[in-house]
């Protein structure tokens, strides 16, 4: 993803550095802001983080490999900045044994998505450990692949997979009470 891409003169012809950046990177600004907002939980900090990310991306845009996922590349820059900003970044802290155990012991419960409000879904997401929230948001909301999330967050891919799975499980668990209250969530018989 960070491989140096040789830029040929023909690529430069007719388009400026800014025009190329604008067409490749700027369409992802809204998505990046969502991630920044989720990471920082603060409007001003999110704006600062987004600006730092885009400035850094603009400076290093010659390193971006054309044809690869620009959003994933930008997300990885954002995570790098966020960890630098926080020093002891929350997303880099090791998941505690307790969190892992909780995730492992959650039984599957089927939620009733059609009856959930946006606020109920977001509240449930906020209640699960941040380590799981972040990968679930990157996968389910921003549509990054496991490999792209691993590259962006500097977490091994196996860990990303398990965190996504456990994060979703925890999310379903948080929503289970609501689902049960509305008559959903019955386990089906093994086939």
């Amino acid at each position: 993803m960070f491989r140096e891409a040789p830029v040929t003169e023909s690529q430069l012809e007719g388009t400026t550095h800014w025009e190329r950046f604008e067409s490749e990177a700027m369409p992802h600004v809204a998505s990046l802001f969502r991630i920044a907002r989720w990471l920082t939980r603060n409007q001003t900090e999110a704006e600062d983080l987004l600006q730092e990310t885009l400035l850094e991306a603009l400076r290093s845009f010659h390193r971006f490999t054309q044809g690869t996922n620009c959003r994933a590349w930008l997300v990885s820059i954002m995570y790098h900045h966020q960890s630098k900003n926080r020093r002891a970044a929350i997303h880099l802290h090791l998941v505690s044994d307790a969190e892992e155990r909780i995730a492992e012991t959650i039984a599957f419960e089927e939620p009733a998505p059609q009856n959930l409000t946006d606020e109920e879904v977001l509240s449930a997401l906020r209640r699960i450990p941040r380590t799981f929230q972040e990968v679930v948001v990157l996968a389910d909301v921003e549509g990054l692949t496991y490999k792209e999330i691993a590259a962006a967050t500097q977490i091994p891919m196996g860990t990303v997979m398990s965190r996504i799975s456990r994060g979703r499980k925890l999310l379903r668990s948080e929503l289970a009470a609501y689902a049960r209250a509305h008559g959903f969530g019955e386990q089906h018989r093994e086939g």
């Binding site: 969502r34 989720w38 704006e47 603009l58 977001l122 997401l125 997979m161 086939g191």
Partner: protein
């Protein structure tokens, strides 16, 4: 594609529900290899329970996506979007020469060296002209600051220009509007009005009320500090360039040789100069200095300052007079 232990178990045998659950997330994320995907599909054709569970998982992901995308707090402020784009574009343009040098091939580097030599010669010539003008101003006793002045009423200008203040205004324009590298974060004008200068409270409303001059676009308004001086800062865009309208309390810095504060009429006189390559147009009211800074041409900057001056001066003077 993902290869997991569970996938092996599914080879040659019917997949069971608990096996499906283990890999359902990877299936939803389209991360499984073809063989395992086929096994999952086969299982799903015969298991309504797992189909329902899969549907619920997909639905939950979709609801999560919608909830986050639609949450008002996750939407960017339009003014931030505009100013961010303008800052990035200005940054890209101000660094475009360096980028081109770094990316160009050998054949074009010679061409660039010739262009750079010509630019250097032009800069030296310009420096000589400016130096001569400054020296002439100095010799006539008006000090080293003003390079040119407003031609509207030559000879009648009050001695408005304070060089260090104008340099601070240019510095604020560069560090805040263009590069956003202030050591202290800007605050709202209303907050600044309560804490520092009452004229800040309704400043942006006063400046922006009615139609802005044609082609001028509002980007942001705040109060910021550059080198210990606080400015009310309204960022505009004109002809594709960032323009700063900066207002600062100048009560403590009035020229001692100035007999009395300028009247409203006098305050609409504009002095124009250049600092660090940025044209600066300046006005002064009884207590405030008002600057328009940009990297437009000096003429365009002056024209814009003239267009904005009446509303800025009227409002600030009104507040000063209580």
């Amino acid at each position: 594609m993902i290869s997991r232990g569970t996938e092996g178990k599914s080879k040659g045998m019917k997949m069971r529900c608990h096996q499906f659950r283990e890999i359902a997330d990877s299936y939803v994320g389209n991360e499984l290899n073809a063989e395992t995907t086929h096994a999952v599909n086969s299982h799903l054709t015969n298991c309504t329970g797992c189909c329902r569970e899969l549907s619920a998982r997909r639905e939950l992901s979709a609801r999560l996506r919608d909830a986050l995308i639609n949450a008002p707090e996750n939407r960017m402020r339009p003014e931030f979007t505009n100013i961010l784009r303008a800052r990035l574009r200005d940054y890209a343009q101000s660094n475009s020469t360096a980028s081109v040098v770094a990316l160009s091939s050998k054949s074009s580097s010679a061409k660039f060296r010739r262009a750079a030599s010509a630019a250097l010669a032009a800069c030296l010539l310009l420096a000589l002209v400016i130096g001569a003008a400054v020296l002439r101003e100095w010799n006539t006793g008006r000090g080293p600051v003003a390079v040119s002045s407003d031609a509207s009423k030559p000879g009648q200008l009050p001695n408005l220009f304070n060089a260090s203040l104008a340099k601070s205004a240019v510095g604020d324009h560069r560090h805040c509007a263009i590069h956003f590298r202030l050591s202290e974060k800007p605050i709202d004008l209303e907050e600044a009005g309560r804490k520092h200068d009452p004229s800040d409270v309704n400043l942006s409303r006063a400046i922006l009320s009615g139609d802005l001059p044609t082609g001028v676009e509002f980007l942001a308004a705040h109060s910021c500090i550059f080198e210990s001086r606080r400015f009310a800062h309204i960022v505009l865009r004109y002809q594709g360039r960032l323009v700063s309208l900066l207002i600062t309390d100048n009560e403590g810095n009035m020229r001692t040789n100035q007999p009395s504060p300028p009247t409203v009429e006098q305050a609409t006189f504009i002095q124009c100069s250049q600092f660090d390559g940025y044209p600066v147009s300046c006005l002064q009211t009884a207590r405030h200095a008002i600057f328009v800074v940009s990297d437009l041409s000096e003429g365009a900057n002056l024209a814009l300052a003239r267009a904005l001056a009446p509303r800025a001066v009227m409002y600030v003077t009104h507040i000063e007079q209580g």
